[in-house]
């Protein structure tokens, strides 16, 4: 006989709802402790290989509209390339690391730093915790520190002292963070403990984040005095050098991108070089209009490589041969003294567009298929730096006195352009403009000749003829 008393029914109901309360309590407890935020754009150019694209996100397509602007509150230098973790964009300024809410553009959090070069942070995971790893200190050639903070709580987890100042920025792959210093030393640091795994002493200065792919770390360096540029491939787990490319009078190389089994970098002799990623043997070269910045990296997709040089030229070349498919010239050359350090933006890929930030503050979107300009927006004075792609948003770092982060979203009511590069020949335009100038100058010269030619008979003897 099944008991049916009222007291028993209440007890049964309470028992039945108990699991629901328990489950709810667990969820609430988890939320209070902080579920690790998802990594969206983990480091310079999106990932350890620096391809400039991430397949797991739905990026915003042009045309764009500016969604928000976050001005750097503590200095007038602006930010390095940001990363995106959860719903926050993280960028390194000269005085602090900032978390900026992606939806509102408001400061979500701020972690003070002791100063030093403004370089790219990176995001990794260790033991279920998402960490933000960045370089702190290093002003006046003092040694820098590699610092890791919890992305959810912003508490410092560990700090690792380097032997010299660092301007390279950080890369993270798996359990290791990589950073180089100005003495040519590359450090591999365990992201869970902040301990050194290995170091490699090379030559010159390391000025860009190392690239990592298929168990190899690719690091470029330059020797200021000798003018040598060097690329090395090191074993990721041991730091053993696997191959090296070195050439004199190249001055410097760009950041390295690894894609389709090739390591690709640009140099100051205007050549982009592709090496077999495993052996280092040269595969192809592509001549650019100008030199490539050491703070810029090529972007790569299947079958194509996108490069941006210091003259504001973006080129698409074949990943197999280096043959130029198209070229678009923005004509946004930065002024001296050191233009290649000013031009920090690297091309990134979003859908069928390649985005590039320019030295004069413009953000441009070019069709990957045609090489024609699809959209262009001006953010005002101050160079644009690194670009990060989030779900439905494009984050651009801006440098200089108006420095900060700018968020762009798709503008459904905007229109796409289809403008060819100004360096493409337009026969009608070329001929028409020349013809106008020809007539004007020739006419002016003929008129001048009519007015100034001698009319008297005494002082206009022809030279070398008889009297």
């Amino acid at each position: 006989v099944f008991p049916t008393s009222l007291r028993f029914r209440h007890a049964l109901a309470l028992f039945a709802t108990l699991p629901v309360f328990l489950a709810g309590g667990v969820v609430a407890a988890g939320a209070a402790e902080g579920t690790p935020p998802a990594i969206v754009w983990s480091q310079f150019q999106g990932g350890p290989a620096h391809t400039g694209s991430v397949s797991s996100i739905t990026s915003a397509q042009p045309p764009y509209t500016r969604a928000w602007t976050f001005r750097e509150p503590d200095s007038d230098q602006g930010f390095a390339a940001p990363v995106i973790v959860g719903d926050v964009a993280v960028a390194l300024g000269s005085k602090a690391v900032y978390g900026v809410d992606l939806s509102s553009g408001q400061q979500a959090w701020r972690v003070a730093r002791t100063g030093g070069p403004i370089t790219e942070p990176a995001v990794g995971t260790a033991g279920g915790t998402t960490l933000i790893v960045y370089v702190d200190g290093g002003s006046n050639q003092e040694p820098s520190k590699l610092v890791a903070i919890d992305a959810a709580t912003q508490k410092q987890l560990w700090s690792f002292s380097l032997g010299a100042s660092s301007v390279s920025g950080v890369s993270v792959d798996g359990s290791l963070a990589f950073v180089g210093d100005t003495q040519g030393v590359l450090y591999a640091v365990d992201v869970s403990k902040g301990t050194q795994e290995w170091t490699f002493k090379g030559t010159g200065r390391i000025e860009a984040p190392p690239a990592i792919a298929d168990g190899l770390v690719y690091v470029g360096s330059r020797e200021l005095q000798q003018g040598n540029a060097t690329i090395r491939a090191l074993d990721e787990s041991t730091g053993t050098q696997m191959w090296m490319f070195a050439q004199q009078q190249l001055a410097s190389g760009s950041a390295i991108t690894v894609s389709d089994g090739r390591a690709i970098a640009g140099f100051t002799d205007r050549l982009a070089r592709a090496f077999d990623a495993a052996t280092g043997s040269g595969e192809w070269t592509a001549l650019m209009s100008n030199a490539l910045s050491p703070r810029s990296a090529p972007a790569a997709a299947t079958g194509a490589v996108y490069l941006a040089d210091l003259a504001g030229t973006v080129e698409r070349v074949s990943a197999d041969s280096g043959f130029r498919t198209w070229s678009y010239r923005f004509n946004a050359v930065r002024s001296l003294p050191i233009p290649y350090l000013d031009f920090w933006s690297s091309p990134v890929l979003t859908g069928t567009s390649v985005l590039i930030g320019l030295g004069d503050g413009r953000l441009g979107a070019i069709s990957t298929a045609t090489g024609h300009l699809q959209w262009e927006g001006d953010t005002g004075p101050g160079a644009l730096g690194g670009i990060a792609l989030g779900n439905g948003i494009v984050i651009v770092a801006k440098q200089g006195v108006n420095g900060g982060l700018i968020g762009f979203r798709h503008n459904a009511s905007g229109t796409l352009l289809d403008e060819p590069s100004p360096t493409e020949l337009d026969a009608g335009q070329l001929l028409g403009r020349f013809a106008v100038a020809f007539v004007v100058v020739l006419g002016a010269a003929a008129l001048a000749g009519f007015l100034i030619r001698p009319r008297d008979s005494t002082d206009d003897e022809p030279i070398g003829a008889e009297s």
Binding site: N331, L430, V441, R453, P454, D460, G464
Partner: protein, 327 residues
Amino acid sequence: VTAKKRRRRRPATTRAETVSIETDDATEIDEETVEDDGVVDHPPVPGILSALRIGLVAVTTTPLLLAIPFLFVFLLWTILVLLGLQVPPSGLVDAMGIPPISTVFDFGVAQAIFGYAPSSLFLAFVIAVARAVVLAILAGITIDVLEGSRPSMYGVLRGIRAIPTVVAVNFLIITATVFGTQLFVLLGPGLSLLGSLAVLIGGLYFLVFAPASAVREAKGIQESIRRSGRAARLRFPGGSHLIMVMVYFLVGLPLLLFAAGRVPGGSDATANPSVAVWALVLVATFVHVVFLAAFFARFIGIEPEIPDKPVRRARPARGAQPPARRR
């Protein structure tokens, strides 16, 4: 008799009594206009300003002297863009310069297309040869005009005859530039720049008269170049040759390039220069042709004084008084 009347009276095909002297090897080596009484008449050597005025009058009264280089510059630009050139068009201001001013342009565009590769040297040479053909024809017509004639087929033929000399001049300058650059790098950045400037100015100083010599005297490549060098070292009244060379060098390289960079759109890489940029390029081309005519006018004036053989200055005897300076 005015030049105007003379031109009306004496078309190019019925030139005044002209004497051609055949050498033993049957090469036509000299042409002189002579008076009826057999006395050779040469006008005085014009000073720098007078030479520039003569050049200005010659060029502005002869549209052909401008139309040819204008069209050459346009064709050159179009071909270079089709080859893949992506540079600001401001450099075109020196496309029609007198070598080695134009050599700077040749190397610049060749390296812009092919980078630091042997093919860029080849392209620079091809451009130089093409310009040499135009310059030689231009030289023939210019000297026609300076001699008081209208532009004629005779002048064009004399210019064509001078093509090998002008090509050789360009070859010499390119060779000197390439080897000079390699050599001067060893001296360090400052001295390297000075050395490169010295090559450019020296090339202009010694070789600028070679086309005129080839057109007027038809003495072959070597002798035309030698006579240009000997003429350069003569004492010019009204301002030395070096001063005129320096004036042209300063106008041709820094001044025109500076002006070109200031024209709206002049510093932007484009395949389709604006009307303003084209206008400046054509004005710069006009300036180059005026200087070319001015140099030729000075050469024609100094021509009788050019020694047939190199003059070796005798060393003063030990203890001898140095010669008094000419005032």
